[in-house]
């Protein structure tokens, strides 16, 4: 075995899970050949030791670095699920007020789209759904013994959820409503449009329902609540999207929510998340 051949094996082992352990086992011809080479080559032994230490450092440090797209997903999630702030409906301050004159430079000004604030948030919600559910799918895809049926289900729901969200977001009367839980441990957002009669519900922080129970979303009009659908869980999200004929009512919705109810019931039940337009 040449030095270059030995170095190639060592470098590839450094980037493999348990790569050096497998080389040390010596149960493959190239591993046995490498062991023989290392026994008589001090410089390659030094390379082995250096690469082994390097692998430990890289595995430790790189595993703690956030994924490149986590920033985009986080900001989209905040835009979709975060509370209403003045920037959504009022001019955003272009600069940070400095405590001392001239001390703080201006923050980068947010791009001014001129779009309706509600639409901005609605599109943000659609983006968050795409990113969050898409990320959930990717995690599923990375599971070595992944459940293919589940992945297919997530792909299918992603397509429908994205299509519904974008369709509602594009409606002229699209509106969003924040959902809040009494204990603050969960939060959500409703996207709806009376003209399309479609509803998108997304929530984070909900515990999966215990056996025999399920989360159902509902619409309240004039004090009467109408159950709409059962929430589905994927990754860290619970969501529902589809037509809601109750939105065809001439009266505007007065509230939205999600309740934990006995499975199969159509009663809205006591809300765990609730919000009003």
């Amino acid at each position: 075995m040449t030095h270059e051949e030995a170095l190639e094996l060592l470098e590839l082992a450094a980037a493999e899970p348990e790569g050096f352990e497998r080389l040390a086992a010596g149960d493959r011809p190239e591993a046995a050949a490498l062991a023989g080479h290392l026994a008589g080559c001090p410089s390659c032994r030094a390379e082995h030791d250096a690469l082994r230490r390097l692998a430990v450092v890289l595995r430790t440090v790189l595993s703690e670095l956030p994924a490149d797209d986590l920033r985009e997903r986080t900001l989209a999630t905040v835009a979709a699920l975060g509370r209403e702030r003045p920037a959504s409906g009022a001019p955003e301050p272009a600069t940070v007020e400095p405590a001392a004159a001239g001390a703080a430079p201006a923050l980068p000004a947010r791009s001014s789209s001129g779009r309706r604030p509600g639409l901005v948030r609605a599109v943000g919600l659609a983006a968050a759904i795409l990113l969050a559910v898409g990320a959930g799918f990717m995690v599923g895809a990375q599971t070595r013994d992944g459940d293919l049926r589940r992945e297919a289900l997530v792909v299918g729901t992603l397509e429908r959820l994205a299509a519904t969200s974008l369709a509602v977001a594009g409606a002229p009367d699209a509106r969003t409503v924040a959902l809040a839980a009494p204990d603050g441990r969960a939060e959500g957002r409703i996207l709806f449009s009376a003209t399309t009669r479609q509803l998108v519900v997304i929530a984070r922080g909900l515990e999966p329902p215990p056996a025999g129970r399920e989360y159902r979303c509902w619409v309240e009009i004039g004090g009467a609540r109408t159950a709409v659908g059962r929430m589905v869980f994927a990754a860290s999200l619970a969501y529902w999207a589809g037509p809601a004929e109750v939105l065809a009512s001439p009266a505007a919705p007065t509230g939205f929510g999600i309740s934990l109810v006995e499975a199969g019931t159509t009663e809205p039940g006591e809300p765990v998340l609730e919000g009003r337009p």
Binding site: V57, L65, R71, A99, A103, A104, R160, E187, R204
Partner: protein, 235 residues
């Protein structure tokens, strides 16, 4: 008040801007603190997917509750880390009651995760008392160097090296994931490794005491070398 060293807005200024509705200020705060929050979450949960959820929820909490941040009670970093710690505790307790259907674990967890969280001794400012401030500075330098080397690396090489070290995939698995020939994956892996090694050598972490020292101070997984219808929903 601006940061005295760089002239950049201080965290306190940015939090006030967030409370006023600035998503740009939130983005800057993400850039400043997300890596530390992510690192804490990975250490507490040993699960990158769960850690990402905790990062998202921490910044969602910052956006929703920016008015509640009181600089006189501590730094923003400490406040964010407390939020992340609480979110991790919630998630770990919930996970102890049910299996996670989808996960990308870094490796086998050791002991009760809630106990691991409670026993965590990392300080609020991100300094690990086991390593001390000098060691923390060296590790920060190591992280900066690796980040810079990753940014400067051709994208194909960066992809293979992150899949190898962040997700623990073998070269064969990377080839399947990316649809590349195995030989291409191996070539790019070697090039990427050589670039990272060169970057570390240039800053004194080369093959020798530097890397050995970094290894001794590394914190993270207990065994870092281990393998390691028209509607959505239902009526």
């Amino acid at each position: 008040m601006a940061d005295d060293r760089s002239g950049a807005p201080s965290d306190d200024d940015l939090v006030r801007a967030v409370a006023a509705g600035s998503q740009d200020a939130l983005a800057i705060l993400y850039d400043r603190h997300a890596e530390s929050i992510h690192r804490l979450a990975v250490r507490l949960t040993n699960d990158r997917a769960l850690a990402e959820e905790i990062v998202q929820e921490t910044f969602l909490a910052l956006w929703n509750r920016a008015e509640r941040f009181d600089p006189s009670s501590g730094s923003l970093a400490t406040w964010l880390r407390t939020i992340a710690r609480n979110r991790a505790l919630d998630r770990l307790r919930a996970a102890a009651r049910r299996p996670r259907p989808v996960t990308a674990s870094l490796g086998p967890a050791e002991g009760d995760p809630v106990e691991r969280l409670i026993d965590s001794t990392e300080l609020g400012d991100g300094t690990d008392p086991a390593t001390g401030p000098e060691r923390a500075v060296e590790l920060d330098e190591l992280r900066r160097t690796l980040r810079a080397a990753l940014r400067a690396m051709p994208d194909p090489e960066r992809r293979v090296i992150l899949l190898a070290y962040q997700e623990g995939l073998s070269q064969s698995e990377i080839a399947v994931r990316l649809g590349w020939p195995l030989g291409t994956v191996k070539t790019r892996t070697r090039r990427a490794l050589q670039r990272l090694r060169a970057a570390l050598v240039g800053l004194g972490f080369g093959s020798g005491p530097g890397i050995a020292s970094a290894e001794a101070g590394a914190v993270g997984p207990a065994d870092p070398g281990a393998a390691s219808t028209s509607e959505v929903g239902e009526r």
